[in-house]
Symmetry: C2
Subunit: 213 residues, 2 copies
């Protein structure tokens, strides 16, 4: 009765399904993901998806809500670091880099949803997701106001800021495959080296020129 030998453990079952779902949804997308495959990877009957989550959509929603909340909490911590706007932005890039590296499945799922305009996102997930947008905006606004950054469009800058890192993450699978097959002329950058490069590129790009007020 120590719990580890329990044959039936609904909590463990739910976690196993969610873990399998993250893999399969990331690999095949919502429509492409087969409930049979999720069930098989979790070593459970696919009917358990309906039993515990109300269906494929329910499982998808549950997994995304969990991941979005974790991501927001991690990124918030990055932005909330004390210091100048420059330091805050650097901390955010670091946090987003680490998140992209450690949660590639989440990033894949989210990217797929972005491509098809969030077709499979329920309202609740959408609302939760929009919380991301406010995170960086304030740092940029304040940095521009204080003169630490050039006078750039904060909205556009926000897109650029996230774009490079996400793109690095999205192309990672292909680059890894090519590297494995020896078809890459030069070695691909590591995560840490890329994040470092990106932080410098962005911060240099945002720095005011010498002649600015």
């Amino acid at each position: 009765m120590d719990g580890t030998t329990a044959i039936r453990d609904p909590e463990r079952t739910r976690e196993a399904l969610k873990t399998a779902a993250r893999e399969v949804f990331a690999e095949y997308g919502f429509e492409g993901a087969k409930t049979r495959e999720i069930g098989a990877r979790a070593e459970l009957n696919k009917a358990m998806i309906n039993y515990h989550f109300g269906g494929k959509q329910g499982l998808f929603t549950e997994v995304l809500l969990e991941d979005i909340r974790e991501a927001r909490s991690r990124l918030s911590r990055g932005v909330a670091s004390t210091g100048s706007s420059t330091e805050k932005l650097a901390a955010f890039v670091e946090a987003l880099g680490r998140l992209s590296e450690e949660r590639p499945l989440f990033l894949k799922i989210l990217s797929r949803e972005l491509i098809d305009a969030g077709r499979h996102l329920e309202l609740q997930v959408e609302e939760e997701f929009f919380g991301f947008f406010g995170l960086v905006q304030e740092v940029l606004d304040r940095g521009i106001e204080s003169g630490e950054f050039r006078l750039v469009d904060p909205h556009a800058t926000h897109i650029s800021l996230v774009g490079g890192l996400v793109w690095f993450a999205l192309t990672a699978p292909l680059r890894e495959r090519l590297a494995r097959e020896g078809r890459l002329p030069a070695p691909s950058p590591t995560w840490s080296s890329y994040v470092e490069h990106y932080r410098e590129l962005i911060l240099t790009g945002l720095a005011p020129s010498a002649s600015d007020s």
Copy 2:
């Protein structure tokens, strides 16, 4: 028999199928795209896909080969512009921006393939696609060598360079939907304003500091 009134026109049929395929593949991905839907949009029997292209995969490959070749030719023209490395890079950003704006379906299809490491790309398409990578590399290498750019990792810079623009394109559908529903706090940047912003961000970010050799 001037051709425009022809009831049967295999060339027109092939084009109609490819046009419909671009829409459907971009919207639903390779697996999600239904041959019935493609046939319906082209106002043709779905058996024509098999007849003219040998199947779903054949049509997909055909469409991608065509689009990749067009994209490469357009981007090559951008890079080949005369002038300094800075001007060449600026021209490339412009060209990529215009391409992303004018060929959103192509970009969607390609992004989906990147996410799943090119699972549906036949070898021929892959080879054709890799040609992209070399395009910017040389401009960056020469710009660094000549001292126009900082001493950055060209591979990483390449990823950053493409990332922002592609991310802008990928999030466009969602941003458009949100704007339509009035759920966006601030208006989203237009294509031209974003490209302009991005060009400046990158070129500023790559510029050597005053103290550099």
